[in-house]
Symmetry: C2
Subunit: 227 residues, 2 copies
DNA sequence: GAAGTGTTTTTTGTATACACGATATATATA
DNA sequence: TATATATATCGTGTATACAAAAAACACTTC
């Protein structure tokens, strides 16, 4: 851990949730590196709380698969391997396809309007070449589709899986050569949903993730070599 | 809570995991009923442990969605609604389809042999009309397919989703009119995997869950009326 | 009798204490 | 020097203590 791991106070959330979010974010952004041990007293001191909320946060991270427990040795940040990321992406591919299929059936006129705006918004964001803006526009677009599925379980699962690739997604979006393709992919997904063409939508979503899969796996291999 | 909620000691697992499994089982089997509050001291006394392991177990149940937290009021068993079960089943449908597709690509000769045996085993179990045996044979069969996907994340997600329907699955299997259909569905899935026909396998798996969906939703509506 | 208010009880949220296992360190012995 | 053994240290696992919020209750007042 390089750093300052600052706790962001929120008077209404219990400490355990604040700690959970803090640690989660630190792991996903790479602030806490794979293999790094999470020592309770150390974290407690750093975050200015007692061990209790730290431990409860770790239990949740454990179930999410972000840390692994070694008996009588405590938690450490889970390793990200090519295999594990591929596993996640395979599942995401399937679930994202389901998302757009359900969206075809259930999206409202209003949501469709929003989706259109989000597509345009993404295109504009791409033109600015501002990575952060692009990422935001991308999330906004995907959130509209997710919401349109009306399936809460699906929403939380997809969000969770998406977060697992947080680190790599950013690298992916930074790569400007992909931008036009992304715009096109989004357009195809949008068009299919407008036409309520489940098959086309499903295929488009699948391809969309397939390309991310390739890029991310590529990135992981690079990381592996530079180690 | 009707009952005796006995803790099953396992000297090697930390208490929090034993408690987690105990509570989880109690919720899934309906021993702890939806809406019921999980009070820490009460559970601690009942299970003969302190509040600490109870709380840590609850944190995991919370993330799994089996309990919901009300701030400063603690945890209660999550309600099972028709909507929530439908959400789960929609996702499962998609993931089960993915499972058989991946199995088509990756299953080994040996696993294929086991799958064949499991199919026959299921058919035999059906003939005995022993619900417990049928359920076991069913799980065994599905486990082989799951394993054959080689995707650990997928395996844990599907297992988790499957457990959410534990209560209803049993009712479903008890219904003898479904038995022949189940055998036939399994046969179709098996045949498709043998032929490495991803499309057919995917469709068969989809139908398999679709039928369960109908049965379970039907059951939930019955439960609703009798309340 | 209803509404509001103060008090008690219950239960969570958080901190801390203690026990024990695991690891590392030092010392002794061959 | 290498190995074995004793000992100290560190960190988790579990229990308990204390504070504060919420709920329940009783009491007063209108």
């Amino acid at each position: 851990m390089t750093d300052n791991l600052q706790i962001k106070m929120d008077d209404f959330l219990p400490l355990r949730d604040v700690v959970f979010n803090t640690l989660r974010q630190a792991i996903l952004t790479g602030d806490l590196k794979p293999g790094e041990r999470l020592m309770e007293i150390h974290l407690a001191d750093k975050l200015g709380v007692s061990r209790t909320p730290i431990r409860e946060a770790i239990r949740k991270l454990e179930l999410e698969g972000l840390v692994i427990m070694i008996p009588r040795r405590g938690a450490e940040v889970a390793q990200i391997t090519e295999k594990s990321m591929n596993d996640v992406l395979e599942v995401r591919q399937s679930l994202d396809a389901l998302c757009v299929e359900l969206a075809c059936d259930r999206i409202t006129e209003e949501e469709l309007e929003n989706l259109k705006r989000a597509c345009v918004g993404f295109e504009l964001a791409v033109k600015t070449k501002d990575t952060k803006k692009i990422a935001q526009a991308d999330v906004a677009l995907h959130d509209i589709i997710l919401k349109a599925t009306g399936n809460d379980r699906l929403i939380s699962l997809v969000n969770n899986l998406a977060e697992q690739m947080y680190r790599y997604r950013f690298e992916y979006i930074k790569d400007a050569t992909q931008h036009d393709m992304l715009v096109e992919e989004h357009r195809q997904i949008y068009e299919s949903i407008v036409k309520k063409d489940r098959d086309a939508a499903s295929k488009a979503a699948w391809t969309h993730i397939e390309n991310q899969k390739k890029a991310i796996i590529h990135q992981i291999r690079l990381d592996q070599e530079n180690k």
